[in-house]
């Protein structure tokens, strides 16, 4: 079962499922898992609107692959693991990300990585997806400048 983390993880999970069906002939159930209510920075950043949690079935005894766009501190994944444990007991949980940009703050590592992208902490990494943003791409921008100077490595997802 593929579970995307809103917003862009959900679109990525759907793409992965479509590819799996195309190459392997397997239909893998896809869902979404919102982590907002489990975040540890709610009190630091203030409230944010909730995303959708939609399970295609029970997670008990399934192999669940969490899908997200960027892996950074690992805190979102920690929240996702907590959220998942309240929904059931999967047989195994794995993690697939499009971009791993390093700078982990928790002992978390991805099982499947689209691209390792060495970055500095002064940069933002944004993944753009046609479903959400109208086009595909990965953008690295400097955080300090008012006008983001885009030294972008545009790459097809």
């Amino acid at each position: 079962m593929l579970l995307g983390i809103p917003t862009r993880g959900v679109a990525l999970a759907q793409r992965l499922a479509a590819k799996l069906a195309e190459f392997e002939g397997h239909t893998v159930p896809v869902g979404s898992l919102d982590t907002t209510m489990y975040r540890d920075d709610l009190r630091l950043r203030g409230i944010r609107p909730l995303g959708r949690t939609e399970l295609p079935g029970s997670v008990d005894d399934k192999v669940v692959v969490l899908v997200d766009d960027v892996l950074y501190s690992g805190r979102t994944v920690r929240a996702a693991l907590d959220a998942l444990s309240d929904l059931g007991r999967p047989r195994a949980v794995q993690l697939a990300v499009l971009v791993d940009r390093g700078h982990r703050e928790l002992p978390i590592r991805a099982d499947y990585v689209g691209k390792n992208l060495p970055t500095s902490q002064g940069e933002n990494v944004r993944v753009l997806l046609a479903e959400v943003d109208g086009r595909d791409g990965v953008v690295i921008e400097r955080r300090i400048a008012d006008e983001p100077s885009r030294s972008a490595v545009e790459r097809r997802a």
């Binding site: 489990y38 009190r43 949690t53």
Partner: protein, 305 residues
């Protein structure tokens, strides 16, 4: 959103929609095996109830507990209020114990507003006198949206004791913000002064209003607040303003019947109607928990501003 929720008029259309959308997600938690979220862990919510209540008090309590907050329920009976302690002193005592949120029900209109000036935490109005009951209006709007798919353009008829009803006032304010049109139907004696200024139509004729209503909401006749006789007999009232099976037959096919509870069967609503298929009365109670979870999350979930 503002730090407090005191009146349904405090909410803009965007904020009210945010509450309803959040409640939609919270409703999913009620269907799970583990009906709990860690979001308000370590926060304390005080249920400050100076007036009797079953639904609202337990609903807030369940909502806060599902979000992992610590809940202290305080009722005026059996507390120092009966020894003559004032509202302010009670509030300051609770504040000193570290309450992050106070949910207040009081028989005096405006009590939660006073409270909001005295304490640092968030105050949620859970019904003050004959003034307002914003979370009830939110859960009613949520129920309508779930059953009928929209709020914009709905015709909502609110029938009964509008004079003493905080539910009616909050609903009128919220529903007009959200784009529904409200008609109030009541005997002239049970309409408040200044009703012309409300964003609602007024009618004395229930039978003429029913065929064009998408929602009909019955209000309880609040005898405990009545010091004079507002209508000749119960029989006459229920014959002119009570909802029985015949009147339900006059409604359009998709229309729903609501009641904020507690209801007096045989007075404003016939038993067969209350238990009928169009009735959302039990659903309203379930939705109340989701909506109150949303309100608590939006008020207390973020940073201490």
């Amino acid at each position: 959103m503002d730090r407090h929720l005191l009146s349904a008029a405090d909410l803009s259309r965007e904020e009210a929609t945010l509450v309803l959308d959040t409640a939609e997600e919270m409703a999913l938690v009620g269907d799970r095996t583990v009906k709990k979220l860690p979001t308000l862990r370590g926060r304390t919510v005080v249920n400050l109830f100076f007036e009797d209540s079953t639904r609202t008090r337990t609903s807030f309590e369940v909502a806060a507990k599902r979000l992992s907050a610590d809940v202290i329920t305080f009722s005026a009976k059996g507390s120092s209020v009966s020894k003559g302690e004032s509202l302010k002193d009670t509030a300051l005592t609770l504040e000193a114990m570290g309450a992050d949120g106070v949910i207040c029900r009081h028989s005096a209109s405006g009590a939660p507003h006073r409270l909001a000036n005295w304490i640092h935490g968030s105050v949620v109005n859970a019904g003050d006198g004959t003034h307002e009951h914003p979370t009830q209006a939110l859960l009613d709007a949520f129920t309508m949206r779930r059953r009928l798919g929209r709020l914009e353009g709905l015709s909502v008829t609110i029938v009964g004791d509008v004079l003493h009803s905080r539910v009616a006032r909050s609903n009128v304010l919220l529903l007009s913000t959200l784009g529904a049109s409200v008609t109030l139907v009541a005997p002239p004696t049970l309409l408040p002064v200044g009703i012309d200024a409300w964003p609602a139509e007024v009618s004395y004729d229930l039978d003429a209003t029913l065929p064009k209503s998408d929602v009909v909401m019955m209000l309880r006749v609040q005898r405990e607040r009545m010091s004079a006789s507002y209508f000749p007999t119960v029989r006459e009232y229920s014959r002119r303003y009570g909802l029985d099976a015949n009147r339900v037959g006059m409604l359009p096919d998709h229309a729903i019947v609501m009641h904020p509870g507690p209801m007096v069967r045989g007075m404003e609503i016939a038993s067969e109607v209350a238990d009928g298929l169009r009735s959302t009365i039990v659903e309203q109670v379930a939705n109340g928990v989701s909506v109150r979870m949303a309100v608590l999350y939006l008020l207390l979930g973020g940073s201490d501003a």
